[in-house]
């Protein structure tokens, strides 16, 4: 029973990571650095609450969340693909922009500086199922299949083959008639949708939007991508690993065995170690960050 509770909580914590990391893998596989994940998630969280509150349904919230994610992805695409601006700078600026914009419009939409009123989410509280209730949430299922589905998309479809070619050697793909920019744009839009759903899950799970509520989860997703070496199934494992560490920390909180800050560090330290190549080097797609 303890084990089951542990597993369920791990999955709950992992869902936003899984969704955002799926988006990030897509983005990086077509050659665009996924530094904007945090912003896309936050935009998704805000959109979800806005839609749920004013539309009266979590489903409308999801539509709004995806729209917000697409909007952010379009801005990113405009700057990096059309104007060829530096992807690192644009990614960081997008995060700052979304943090600022969500706070700015928080007051306009809900007349509060820090959080929205309560929204319903996907319900299930009253059913007495406890933590199992979260499995009535479609986003949980979506999160669980996101990376396997992405694996299928990247490794089993013509689109995926072209995407991987574009992220690795765009000039080779171009000589074979593949439209590199259009493909990158599609990859970015898919990234925006997935990452925003990750944010939507967070907000609907907590039944409200709070200021900067993604709290670095976009970067943990990025860490999972690098630690998982850009391979969807490995990335999924990394997300679950990071989530399990968090769950363990929460459940052992009373015991004070390890300071909670050290558990927070796990994803970041593992990523740095992976990049340094201590145990098998993590090598990104060759054309990552280079848009000509």
């Amino acid at each position: 029973m303890i084990l089951l509770a542990f597993l369920l909580q791990t999955i709950r914590i992992a869902i936003p990571y899984l969704l955002a990391a799926a988006g990030g893998v897509m983005s990086e596989r077509v050659g665009v650095i996924a530094l904007g994940l945090e912003g896309m998630m936050l935009a998704g969280a805000f959109g979800a609450v806005l839609g749920s509150y004013y539309g009266g349904s979590a489903w409308i919230g999801l539509v709004c969340a995806m729209s917000a994610g697409i909007l952010v992805a379009l801005l990113l695409a405009l700057c990096t693909l059309r104007f060829r601006a530096n992807q690192v700078v644009v990614g960081i600026a997008i995060n700052l922009l979304v943090i600022g914009a969500t706070r700015f419009f928080l007051r306009l939409a809900f007349d509060s500086a820090s959080n929205s009123p309560r929204v319903d989410g996907f319900g299930g509280e009253g059913s007495g199922l406890g933590v199992l209730a979260s499995f009535s949430n479609p986003l949980v299922w979506l999160g669980l299949i996101a990376l396997p589905a992405l694996w299928w998309l990247l490794w089993r479809t013509p689109f995926g083959l072209r995407a991987r070619a574009v992220g690795e050697k765009p000039e080779a793909a171009a000589t074979l008639g593949v439209n590199v920019s259009a493909l990158r744009l599609r990859g970015l839009l898919l990234c925006g949708v997935l990452a925003s759903l990750g944010g939507a899950y967070l907000a609907l799970d907590q039944h409200q939007f709070t200021d900067s509520m993604t709290a670095g989860r976009g970067f943990i997703a990025l860490a999972a991508i690098i630690f998982g070496r850009w391979m969807p199934m490995r990335v999924a494992a990394a997300c679950l690993l990071f989530a399990a560490a968090e769950t363990l920390q929460i459940q052992l909180q009373g015991a004070q065995l390890v300071p909670s800050q050290f558990v927070e560090l796990i994803p970041y330290v593992l990523t740095i170690v992976a990049l340094a190549g201590v145990v098998g080097k993590s090598v990104p797609p060759a054309a990552l960050g280079k848009v000509e």
């Binding site: 650095i33 060829r84 690192v88 644009v90 600026a93 700052l96 922009l97 600022g100 914009a101 706070r103």
Partner: protein
């Protein structure tokens, strides 16, 4: 000839940032209108709250100090072709080291010794934080972007742990007050600034900007660093050890960011507090971009961004202060997108001008 060249360089330096600020203003107008306020009123209030009174101006000076340091940090690495997005963590490490040294020093030590020691501590801590991504890049080719981002979280979490569990004054998130290493507030010298956080560390920031300028543009190591950033192949041909230059650039970059920590610690509160300058590290990227990675430009840009930050508080009654966060982000995006375009354009024009002149000069 030289006149044209100077004009060109001036255009190159200012055109893109000015365009960016103009675009941000337009976006700002639209945002203000969503709250039903008049942009003119809001902007007037923003100026009044910053440059319109001594207190506001003092706060602007205070914020300029840290932004100058983080701006220099980003620019110095960028000149070597590297992206240090780890100023956030390096800044915290610098502030913590200064506070720690100030705590350890006995109160009897005179300021002329204590202050430089604390300053050195902040730079060493920042530099050590920069050395990690530096060595990983130089030795293993690990992306300094990802390493610095990840290291931000690592450093902040470690510092939070150390402070929270071993050093914090009960019921707070800050350490005990230092024994030595105080830097005077401007208010104690010029009473008009009374109440504002502005302090003499701004002088250190200006001096460091001058030092960075000298190092980049007047020394052999700066010459080599810029060559590596512009054209690594040509640098290699010129006998410059590219990896070693990368490592040193990251160390200096981290040291500049670390130095920013003394503003709060030595000049204002005299202790380290969790999140004392959150956001200043990332904002340094904006400062460096707008300042075109030039120390003088960075000083001006730091003043601009400090004005915006402080101005946000002044207008908060009419529109949320996050208006300025959005404006700052828009400025970054606009500069990042327009600089390459403007440069391409100017390069073409400059080349054709020079060719024409050369043709005329040839009999």
């Amino acid at each position: 000839m030289s006149g044209d060249g100077l004009l060109m360089r001036a255009a190159q330096a200012f055109l893109a940032p000015l365009l960016a600020v103009a675009l941000a203003m337009v976006v700002g107008d639209l945002l203000i209108l969503t709250y039903g306020e008049s942009p003119a009123t809001v902007y007037a209030l923003l100026l009044e709250g910053t440059w319109g009174n001594w207190y506001g101006f003092g706060q602007v000076i205070y914020k300029t100090m840290t932004l100058t340091c983080t701006g220099l940090a980003f620019a110095y690495a960028a000149r070597a072709g590297l992206f240090n997005v780890g100023a956030e963590g390096q800044l915290a490490a610098g502030g913590f080291a200064a506070a720690l040294v100030g705590l350890l020093l006995p109160a009897s030590i005179p300021g002329v010794i204590a202050v430089p020691v604390c300053i050195a501590a902040s730079m060493i801590a920042g530099g050590a934080s920069g050395a990690i991504p530096g060595v990983l890049r130089a030795r293993f080719g690990a992306s300094e972007v990802i390493v610095t981002i990840m290291l931000n979280f690592v450093l902040l979490a470690l510092l939070n742990y150390v402070v929270a569990s071993h050093m914090a004054v009960p019921e707070t998130l800050h350490t005990a007050e230092m024994n030595a290493g105080f830097v005077a507030r401007l208010g104690s010298l010029f009473p008009v600034f009374a109440g504002s956080a502005a302090n003499l560390t701004i002088v250190v920031a200006v001096l460091v900007a001058v030092f960075a300028w000298w190092k980049l543009f007047r020394t052999r190591s700066g010459y080599e660093l810029r060559a590596v950033g512009l054209q690594p192949d040509a640098a290699e041909y010129g006998g410059i050890p590219v990896s070693r230059v990368w490592f040193r650039a990251m160390v200096w970059s981290g040291a500049f960011a670390g130095l920013g920590g003394i503003n709060f610690v030595l000049g204002y509160k005299h202790y380290y507090e969790e999140g004392f300058a959150a956001g200043s590290g990332f904002l340094g990227i904006a400062v460096a971009l707008v300042g075109r990675n030039h120390p003088l430009g960075i000083l001006i840009a730091a003043l601009l961004f400090a004005t915006l930050s402080q101005g946000g508080l002044a207008v908060n009654a009419l529109v949320p202060k996050q208006l300025v966060d959005i404006l700052q982000a828009v400025v970054i995006l606009a500069v990042a997108t327009t600089v390459p375009e403007v440069q391409r354009l100017l390069r073409k024009t400059a080349a054709s001008l020079v060719r024409r002149d050369a043709a005329e000069a040839t009999p």
